[in-house]
C-alpha cells in the first residue's frame, strides 16, 4: 500500500512541469482566495496562485531534500560508524560527540543551524542532515561491532584477506539491510523537518514554492478558508505516511526478527 501510494506521489511530482495546470508563480489578484472549483481543483492562495500547481511543484523541494538528506546522512553516518566500530579509531571521542549531538532535539538543532547561513536549499539540507547523522552512526557502529566478531570475518582475516576487501565483501553486505530501513525513516523525517522549517519561516527561501512555505503563507488567511493550508498539508502527510509504510514493509522483509517487535 505504501509503495503504490509513494509511486503515485513521486510520478505526479516528477511530472509537475507537464501536468500542473498553471504556472506555480503566476500571480492573479482577481483570482485571490478562490475555494476549490473545477478550474482550480485545490483553490487559489492569497495572491491568486493555483494551489494544485504549487503543491505539485512544491513536492520537488520535499522529495529532493528528503532524498538528499537520507543519502548524505546514511553515507556520512556509515563512514563514521565504520571508523568507530571497525577500525576502532577515536571510538570513544566519536561516540561522546554523537551523544552530545543527540542530546539536542533534532528540530531545534536544525533551526539553530539555519541561523548560520542565508537561507538556501543547500543550507536546509545541511541543517537537517547534521541532527540525523548521530542516529545513523549509532546504528552503523553497533551493527559493525556485532558483525566484525563473526567467524566468517575471523576466517577472512586468517586467510589474509585485505582490509578493504573484508569491509566490502563481508561487513557492508551484512550491515546494509537495517541501514536501508533506517534511511527510509530518515527520509520521512527530513521531509517533515523541511516543512517545519518552512512553516516557521526559516527554511527554504520563501520565493520557492514548498509545502512548508505554502502552509506558512496560508496562516494569514486561515479565518477565510482552510484549503490553502489543507492541500499542501495533506500531500505532506500522505508522502510521509507512504515513506513510513514503505520503511515498515521493508523492515518486515529484510529483518523478520525485528518485524514482530515493533
Amino acid at each position: 500500500m505504501g509503495g503504490v501510494l509513494l509511486a503515485i506521489i513521486v510520478v505526479l511530482i516528477v511530472l509537475a512541469p507537464w501536468i500542473a495546470p498553471f504556472d506555480p508563480m503566476e500571480i492573479d489578484p482577481i483570482m485571490r482566495l478562490r475555494p476549490p472549483s473545477t478550474e482550480n481543483l485545490f483553490g487559489t492562495d492569497a495572491l491568486g496562485r493555483d494551489i494544485l500547481s504549487r503543491v505539485l511543484w512544491g513536492g520537488r523541494v520535499s522529495l529532493f531534500v528528503g532524498f538528499t538528506v537520507a543519502v548524505a546522512a546514511t553515507g556520512i553516518g556509515l563512514s563514521i560508524g565504520l571508523l568507530a566500530g571497525y577500525l576502532r579509531r577515536g571510538d570513544e571521542v566519536i561516540m561522546r560527540v554523537m551523544d552530545g549531538l543527540m542530546a539536542v532535539p533534532g528540530i531545534l538543532l536544525a533551526i539553530v543551524l539555519m541561523t548560520l547561513t542565508r537561507g538556501s536549499i543547500t543550507a536546509v539540507v545541511i541543517a537537517i542532515t547534521v541532527p540525523e547523522v548521530p542516529r545513523v552512526v549509532r546504528l552503523a557502529r553497533s551493527l559493525v561491532l556485532s558483525v566484525r566478531n563473526q567467524t566468517y570475518v575471523e576466517a577472512a582475516v586468517a586467510m589474509g584477506t585485505s582490509e578493504p576487501r573484508i569491509l566490502v565483501r563481508h561487513i557492508l553486505p551484512n550491515v546494509a539491510a537495517p541501514l536501508i530501513v533506517q534511511a527510509t525513516f530518515v527520509m520521512a523525517s527530513a521531509i517533515m523537518i523541511e516543512a517545519y522549517l518552512g512553516f516557521l519561516g526559516i527554511g527554504t527561501p520563501p520565493e520557492i514554492p514548498s509545502w512548508g512555505n505554502m502552509m506558512a503563507e496560508a496562516r494569514s488567511t486561515i479565518s477565510i478558508g482552510l484549503w490553502a493550508m489543507l492541500f499542501p498539508g495533506i500531500m505532506l502527510a500522505l508522502t510521509v505516511l507512504a515513506i513510513n509504510l514503505c520503511g515498515d514493509r521493508l523492515r518486515d522483509i529484510l529483518d523478520p526478527r525485528l518485524a514482530r517487535r515493533i
Binding site: R96, D99, A103, P105, L108, I111, L226
Partner: protein, 313 residues
C-alpha cells in the same frame, strides 16, 4: 542509588561539554556582528568598534570560549542582544506555559496511548490491531501544524467552543487555563501517542507470551487484571524508555505548537531569537533543552527500579 545518580550526572558532563562547544562554535561562525545590531543602524564604525571591544567580541576564540564557560559556571548565561534582559530571566518568564503544555501532553499521551497499545497487543492480528497500528503510523506522518490549524478552524473558528490562541496561566483559574491549553495539547499529542502506542504494543506482545501470563489466565483471572496488572507492569520498562525518547519529539513539537497558538513559552522564545539572530539567547536555549533532555532520561532510568524490583542502583 545516590552513587548511581552521581555517576550518571558525572557522565552527563562530557555530553553537555560537547553541546556547549558545538553551540559556541556555531555562534562564533555565525554571520552578522551582534555589536552592530546593538549599536543600531545609525551608529558610526567607531561606536560599533567600542561595543565590540566592550563585549569582548574581538578576542580570540579560546579566550571567548573560556570567558563564556566561566560566566556560565558562575550562573551568568548572558543577556539578550535585543531586550538586554538576562537570558535566565527570559527563560524564567517563558518556562511556565511550556512546562504546562509538556505535562498536559504527556498525560494525554499516556492515558490514550497505553490502552491503545494494550488492546492492539491483546487482539494482535485482528482488524482492531491493524486499525490501531495504522492510526499510529498516521500519527507520525501528520505535521503538528496541520492538526493544529484543522482544530483551530473547526473547534475555534466555526464552532467557537475554544479560544483560537493565547495562553492563560493556572493562576488565572483552572477553567480558562484548560480552555487555552486543550487544542495545543491535542495537536502536540498526536506524535507522542503514536510513539507510545507502538512501543506499548511491542512490549506487551513480548510479555504476553510469558509463562506467568498463561498461569494467570489458567487460574481463572479475568482478562482485565491479566493485561493491565500482570502484563503491563512487566512491559513498563521499554514503555518508560520510549516516553523519555519522546521528550525530544515533544520539545521539537513545542517549538511549532507554541508558534501556531501564540503561546509565550520557550518554543516561541527560541524561534523569535533565531529570527532575530539573538545569539546569547539561542546558545542558552540549546544548552537548556539539552540539559532537560539529559535529566529526563536520567529520571526515566531511575524509574526502572520502580517498575521492576530486580533493578537496583
Amino acid at each position: 542509588m545516590l552513587r548511581y545518580i552521581l555517576k550518571r550526572l558525572f557522565a552527563a558532563v562530557p555530553v553537555m561539554a560537547v553541546v556547549a562547544l558545538a553551540v559556541f562554535s556555531m555562534m562564533y561562525a555565525a554571520p552578522g556582528n551582534p555589536a552592530a545590531i546593538i549599536a543600531g543602524d545609525t551608529a558610526s564604525a567607531a561606536e560599533v568598534a567600542a561595543i565590540t571591544a566592550k563585549l569582548g567580541l574581538d578576542r580570540p576564540f579560546l579566550e571567548r570560549l573560556w570567558v563564556w564557560v566561566f560566566q556560565m559556571l558562575m550562573g551568568d548565561f548572558g543577556s539578550s542582544i535585543f531586550s538586554g534582559l538576562p537570558v535566565t530571566t527570559m527563560i524564567g518568564q517563558a518556562i511556565e506555559p511550556t512546562i504546562a503544555l509538556t505535562i498536559s501532553t504527556t498525560l494525554l499521551a499516556i492515558v490514550v496511548a497505553i490502552p491503545m497499545g494494550v488492546i492492539a497487543a491483546w487482539r494482535v492480528g485482528t482488524w482492531i490491531d491493524r486499525y490501531i497500528m495504522l492510526m499510529s503510523v498516521a500519527g507520525f506522518s501528520v505535521p503538528v501544524f496541520l492538526v493544529s490549524y484543522i482544530l483551530v478552524f473547526t473547534i475555534s473558528n466555526e464552532l467557537q467552543w475554544l479560544p483560537v490562541q493565547g495562553y492563560k496561566p493556572i493562576a488565572d483559574g483552572f477553567i480558562p487555563f484548560l480552555r487555552h491549553i486543550t487544542l495545543p495539547t491535542i495537536s502536540l499529542g498526536f506524535v507522542y501517542i503514536a510513539l507510545i502506542a507502538r512501543m506499548t504494543r511491542a512490549a506487551m506482545l513480548d510479555v504476553l507470551s510469558e509463562d506467568y501470563i498463561r498461569t494467570a489466565r489458567a487460574k481463572g483471572l479475568a482478562e482485565g487484571p491479566v493485561l493491565f496488572i500482570h502484563a503491563l507492569k512487566n512491559a513498563a520498562i521499554p514503555i518508560a524508555t520510549v516516553i523519555g525518547i519522546g521528550i525530544a519529539f515533544l520539545i521539537g513539537g513545542v517549538v511549532v505548537t507554541e508558534s501556531v497558538f501564540a503561546i509565550p513559552g520557550l518554543g516561541r522564545l527560541t524561534v523569535d531569537s533565531v529570527l532575530r539572530r539573538d545569539y546569547p539567547v539561542i546558545q542558552a536555549m540549546v544548552l537548556f533543552f539539552a540539559g532537560i533532555y539529559v535529566i529526563i532520561n536520567l529520571l526515566i532510568d531511575l524509574s526502572y527500579a520502580l517498575f521492576d524490583p530486580r533493578v537496583r542502583y
